[in-house]
């Protein structure tokens, strides 16, 4: 294992003399973490804590004919059976908080379940064991319904309907049943290509697998409020979702979190928080709702499956002149965050390469499986797998060195991207060069001399005339009127150069919130300094070189540059002086109460 910081690269775009930034400081909370003293949500103890667990569907798709919870209610220690009718506003979709998508998912489902593991009832009991026993004692009469698990079968005519909010079994991106990307004319370019290279890629669902499973503890607080200790990754998402589902003013909710035992995207869905608060509202007691490991693995939303088909048109010299995608995000039974992946994945195409003709159709499909959600690299990981495996295929077909092929097609500063925004701040070429150098993978002189800062030209910077089509309007596919999921040939033309406005950061509310240009350490185009600080003009934000910095007036190809030595390792943290923080439990208050002592 070694880490080196290549300070010689892009040295003229950066000052390395900041006081605290760039220093390998020990993290603020490390002592508690490594000594096991940090309090996570589950370390908050409450007298009389009750435990909540769910009765779940064993079927992929079924109707609840009846529920008999009498045996469960009769068990000693069972405090409350929670039914779908106990949820005040029992329908939601996560991104409704930003106005995206239809409400499509119930907290407790009635009368239809659409994936195996979907909850239909909850039991609140004095111990977790009693809650489990009571769940097992509930008798549900299921009417099993036909299901569909493959995303392409799900959008075919005649497939069982998965999600009633979306009758096509795919998320609606008005007016289409998919996200379109159209840039240039792939059909015309394919006809000119020397090679056509096609392949299909797939990624199965993946569990986020945090050490700490999803969960929350809620309790009545004074002033008619409820406190909720949670492991959420998104405090206000969870608070807002809880307020909506339970029809409570958000001012009555007090959410505490921020220290979480791993998330990786699996703790945004905000299911455990409304469940725990609902339990506290219904019982007037503290209630914990926490997934066990099997629930985390099979009921908690994974990184969803993806399927991608890529078709490339490539010239004999390795230049990719056209790339077409057909992509499927398998959302499972409900939207959660998968609709966002459709946009994010599309915005990522065609990867970090400048390709003059790009088309894609990306579908967010509903199937009768556990809903998918975010995970590290969300919307991108499966796409990158597909693109980079495909690049290897293209290298093989053209006989090019795989790294040389990437550098040849890599995007450069000033190039136009397929989503009609200019590439800037690029560094793919340099990453290729440095990684090759580290691994002893010899590159040609031309590849070594390449730079992300050079190589763009008027043609690469231009938005081409674009072929458009109107295939795949909502409802058409289900009626059998759409032949293919792949991008259709164009039926009309959009003139070259057509584009809208690039979205940027909203500027500061008041001038004195703007950092002074000479204090930021790199160039900020268009920075407006506070009037008082107008003297050092923002136009020359790169300060004089600090003495330690290697002089590099122009970007130097990395092959010619000497890497600066790695940042010297920081001194290991010294042990605290006696009595610094209490002797018996370092890092923890001696007046500890209300949280777990370990």
């Amino acid at each position: 294992m070694s880490v080196e910081f290549r300070k010689d690269l892009f040295a003229d775009e950066r000052r390395d003399d900041l006081n605290e930034i760039g220093k390998p400081h020990t993290r603020q909370d490390i002592e508690g973490h490594v000594t096991g003293r940090t309090a996570y949500y589950d370390d908050h103890l409450f007298d009389g804590l009750l435990h909540m667990r769910c009765v779940r569907s064993p079927h992929h798709h079924a109707r609840v004919r009846s529920v008999d919870a009498s045996a469960a209610e009769a068990l000693p220690g069972v405090r409350r059976v929670v039914r779908p009718s106990d949820v005040p506003h029992n329908i939601n979709t996560l991104l409704s908080l930003i106005g995206f998508g239809e409400d499509d998912e119930q907290l407790l489902s009635d009368p239809i379940v659409r994936y195996r593991g979907e909850p239909v009832l909850a039991i609140i009991a004095e111990t977790e064991a009693i809650a489990r026993a009571a769940c097992a004692a509930v008798r549900v009469d299921w009417e099993v319904l036909p299901h569909v698990l493959d995303p392409e079968e799900a959008i075919a005519p005649g497939a069982p309907s998965v999600n009633p909010a979306y009758s096509d079994n795919s998320f609606t991106y008005e007016p289409y049943d998919h996200v379109k990307l159209r840039f240039g004319d792939v059909t015309a370019a394919f006809a000119q290509a020397d090679h056509l290279i096609e392949a299909e890629y797939e990624m199965s669902p993946i569990e986020q697998a945090p050490i700490e499973t999803c969960g929350a503890i809620a309790a009545p607080e004074t002033a008619d409020r409820f406190v909720c200790h949670t492991g959420t990754q998104a405090l206000f998402f969870s608070l807002g979702t809880t307020a909506k589902l339970l029809d409570l003013p958000s001012s009555r909710l007090h959410f505490i979190g921020g220290t979480v035992g791993g998330g990786f995207g699996g703790k945004v869905d905000s299911i455990t928080e409304p469940m725990a608060v609902l339990g506290a509202v219904l019982t007037g007691r503290p209630v914990k709702f926490q997934w066990d490991r099997p629930e985390e693995m099979q009921v908690g939303a994974p990184r969803g499956a993806e399927r991608w088909r890529i078709k490339d048109g490539v010239m004999a010299d390795g230049r990719i002149i056209a790339r077409e995608f057909t992509g499927f995000f398998d959302a499972g039974a409900y939207t959660r965050l998968s609709s966002y992946a459709g946009h994010k994945g599309t915005g990522h195409l065609p990867g970090p390469y400048t390709i003059p003709n790009v088309a894609s159709n990306v579908f967010c499909v509903f199937t009768n499986r556990t809903p998918a959600t975010a995970m590290r690299g969300f919307g991108i990981t499966g796409v990158d797998f597909a693109i980079e495996c495909h690049m290897d295929r293209v290298a093989e077909a053209t006989g090019l060195d795989p790294i040389s092929l990437r550098i040849l097609n890599s995007y450069r500063d000033g190039d136009m991207k397929a989503h009609r925004r200019v590439a800037k701040n690029c560094a793919l070429v340099e990453c290729c060069q440095v990684a090759a150098d580290k691994a002893g993978w010899t590159l040609s002189a031309q590849d070594k001399a390449a730079s992300s800062l050079a190589g763009s030209d008027a043609q690469r910077a231009a938005i081409p005339e674009t072929a458009l089509d109107e295939e795949g309007r909502v409802g058409a596919r289900k009626e059998g009127r759409v032949a293919s999921t792949a991008p259709a040939p164009g039926t009309k033309r959009l003139v070259a150069g057509t584009h809208g406005r690039t979205m940027e950061a909203v500027s500061v509310q008041r001038p004195d919130m703007e950092i002074l240009a000479e204090r930021i350490g790199h160039a900020i185009p268009g920075a407006t300094s506070a009037p008082a600080a107008a003297a050092p003009v923002a136009a020359s934000p790169v300060a004089p070189s600090p003495p330690a910095r290697p002089a590099a007036a122009t970007p130097t190809p990395p092959a010619a540059a000497q890497p600066t030595p790695p940042v010297p390792p920081s001194a290991p943290p010294s042990p605290p002086k006696p009595f610094d923080r209490g002797v018996r439990r370092p890092g923890v208050s001696q007046f500890l109460s209300g949280s777990r002592r370990r």
């Binding site: 930034i21 390998p24 890629y201 990754q233 290729c432 950061a505 703007e514």
Partner: protein, 344 residues
Amino acid sequence: MTRYAGRGFAAINYPIGMNLGGDPAQALVHSTPDGKFMVTLSAIDLGQGMKSVTRQIAAEALGVPMEDVYVDTADSDTGPHDMGSFASRGTHRVGNAVIRASSEARAQMMEAAAEELEVNATDLDTDGQGNIHVKGAPQRKITVAETAIAAQFKQGRTLSGRGIFLIEPSGVDPDTGEMSPVTTYAHAALIVDLTVDDETGEVTVDKINSAYEVGRALNPKLVEQQLIGGAWMGVSHALYETTEPYYPDRAHGPEDFNTYLMPGPGEIVPHDIAVLERPAADAPYGGKGPGEMCANPVLPAVANAVYNAVGVRVDKLPITPEKILRGLQAQGGAKPGPRRPGTQ
């Protein structure tokens, strides 16, 4: 049984921040009367170091030592709104909000110090050690602590700041897909060396060489932990992990860590990393979030290396021994690809 060596390459970029914007983050900063600063957020520290990186950002922007700053986060009664820790938005969005809040607090701190020193605030600078001095005359100075005491008890002035950072929300053109996804991209390229056993289908990843471009390594140690951990997850995704091994069939779904496979500590791959820093204009001190992107290049690099080793293209993740053996069977045994430059 033969073990075949293979080498694979992949390169990626990664969008930083929630796609299409509209994901604000706020920060509040205030000083105590003895010149320490509290940063109040609603960001989540998942282990990635959110509290630490915002602490360093606040200290830098305030111009005070990091030890004099503390970050308190995620109490909805005190912390201002933040969308959450996902989409590589923590460092970019929250970091920028912290810079803005700290800059406002700093401006007030300099005004208070200027009143004490009887000079113009624009003539003052901080030394990052807890002192405020007259530019060009470092002996004319006042400590941050004295400034805070004067502000609180004499001048009746707060040393506090508010910050919000928002990329304006936008949509997607339904016909062209035109959009402003994000404002900043991180980059990576990675080479995997591995061996494939043609009898068991077992893959052993022997070495990773990588280059990651992260804008600016705000804390090099936190970057290092992300890159090493991310590479582990990448190997795990490539070769082991799935909740549905026979997708789209739902059979054989694992329910615990005995059946949900991951590499163990003994399988952490030796990894030589280079970090490149090309600051992004609108990122805090130029820093992009390295956490999410760093697993991504590993998956295709492993797949490409397996192909290079035995000639089997496994296009469906994860690349299990079963899939490799079926591929070997279908093509009548291993068909090693060209030896890549630099292969040991």
